[in-house]
Symmetry: C2
């Protein structure tokens, strides 16, 4: 497992589907690594802003996009000549996005998801949705502890790329450079699960923070959250080194301790007394963990696994449990041996 | 492993040896849980402050000590009638402290360490030093994500108590109350290792923070640190649920992300350019990881384990490696599959 990728030929051209902050940051990464990039945006104003100002003023303002990045609103143009596609569509819209994308694809190009979550309607991981919607296309997922703004600024970031190993290594060779280090693995389910679950646990940790319970309580809850992730991961066949790695523990720690995380902030605001109605009002930024929490619980039950922390978050978000009772469930287990 | 401790009789009287911030906070915990407590301090001014002002003005100012806590500078008095002793002596002085303590003990009372580290001269875990210095005394260790100030304030905190299981359960029953939850285990080596190693990794994570590399880089490093802890723990016979639990991952996350941690601050100051001479000047607060880092590396080598992150920290602290080269070693592994 120490294969260097110096001798692996990178992709010449990469298409990025979705020009939110993360899709745009990944387009920058690919361009900095030397790739030709097309960046597809759904929103006409974003397309125009990329084309005319070389900036995504709506989602990633203040960062100049390299000339190698061609913005487009035309899916057919976005995929033309691309040897791999990075798909940065939100989990709950992934199925529809993939269907639209597929109608423009005449060859089995690798589809690397850059979104995190579990489909609420089915309890399926994003990679399972991908394999179901686009069978025959090599599936992949890129995930890890990272914020779009940090990546865009060139702060050092390491992520995991999971796909059939030959493809994972080519993606790694295509995106890696001094400040962005992708690590290849073939543990697709492990990477997909870590990326989905961490948003749920970030809400729980944010809540404890918002209630002013201190860093010790938050750290204890984070350790318990990780234990839940490991239990479910083992049941789904994820490898333990993936769960303890960048896309598992690394991303969980980042998301569950940082006010820069939307999910952490959502939980924190809830802990400070914001109502669900306020938190879920239209126009508020999407916290993926809100949709993922009940889906994660349903999926775990199907595997015969109990997730007390995730269940508490789900019950809270569904309005089934008041905050004070949720807190008791999160923090005070009966005294017993670990 | 779901045994409730409601039916276990707590100890009547507990002696706390060492009245730093942590020893004093634990004396408060025991008193709040209903125990009679003697609190031994080495420093005459601390003894007097506890006796006359009911406050440890030097190490835990602003917190009133309950009447159940009797301060003393006399070891014989501290241990008289105590059914268990909490030993809060720093790791590097533990051997001498235990020798002094033993000369006052005429029966095999449980000795529960409340200090973290590895003895520099021997590469031994604090619990190994205990078993060697005081054979025949039931050995224990209390460790977990906690700050003395938070515990003293009554913020919710959960820790792990490792000892022969019947004793661990009695300690749990003796200290546990609404806001302080000890979890009993018999994995002494796992708890001792987690407590020692986390200080070393906190220095590394603090350094990355001090250099302004962002939260993503810190989270990636933390995940790699945890993987090192797991590797060494497995070699030493620690259980994986201990390593992923409160005293392992929980404490690592807290210490390696919080400016309230002395070890994190030490690394952060180093990242900001402070010299080793400044950082180690007399009067600066003790960062246990400084003594532990080389000892951890030596111990790991003896077990045939490589710890690249801990080795980098040790080399840096010993002045063998400049900061910029340390950073390269910490952050940029060659691109390779995980």
């Amino acid at each position: 497992m120490t294969k260097n990728t110096d001798d692996i030929e990178p992709y010449g051209k990469i298409g990025v589907i979705g020009a939110g902050a993360w899709g745009t940051a990944l387009a920058l990464v690919a361009a900095r690594a030397g790739r030709q990039v097309t960046l597809w945006a759904r929103e006409p104003d974003v397309v125009e802003s990329i084309q005319t100002r070389r900036e995504n003023t709506r989602f990633l303002p203040g960062v100049t996009l390299e000339k190698r990045i061609v913005g487009t609103g035309d899916l057919a143009e976005a995929v033309r000549g691309a040897e791999a596609l990075l798909v940065a569509a939100p989990a709950q819209h992934l199925r529809a996005s993939l269907a639209a994308l597929k109608s423009h694809l005449d060859r089995a190009v690798p589809l690397v998801l850059c979104a995190k979550g579990i489909e609420q309607a089915t309890g399926k991981l994003v990679t399972e949705v991908l394999e179901e919607t686009a069978p025959g296309f090599p599936p992949g997922i890129l995930s890890g502890p990272s914020f779009a703004a940090d990546v865009a600024q060139g702060l050092p970031t390491a992520v995991t790329v999971a796909a059939p190993l030959d493809i994972a290594l080519r993606v790694q060779a295509s995106l890696g450079h001094l400040t962005f280090r992708p690590y290849a693995t073939d543990d697709i389910v492990g990477v997909a699960l870590g990326g989905a679950a961490k948003n749920v646990y970030a809400i729980a940790c944010g809540m404890v923070d918002g209630l002013g319970l201190g860093e010790s309580a938050r750290a204890a809850l984070l350790a318990r959250s990780f234990a839940e992730l490991v239990r479910l991961g083992e049941a789904l066949g994820a490898r333990s080194e993936t769960l303890t790695g960048l896309s598992g523990l690394g991303d969980l720690v980042l998301t569950a301790t940082s006010p820069s995380s939307r999910n952490f902030r959502y939980g924190r605001d809830m802990g400070r007394g914001a109502s669900l109605a306020d938190l879920n009002a239209p126009g508020r930024p999407l916290a993926e963990g809100v949709a993922t929490a009940p889906a994660l619980v349903i999926r775990a039950r199907r595997e015969g696994i109990e997730l007390p922390v995730a269940e508490t978050v789900a019950d809270l978000l569904l309005g089934r449990l008041p905050l004070d009772q949720a807190l008791v469930r999160l923090m005070s287990r009966p005294l017993k041996p670990e």
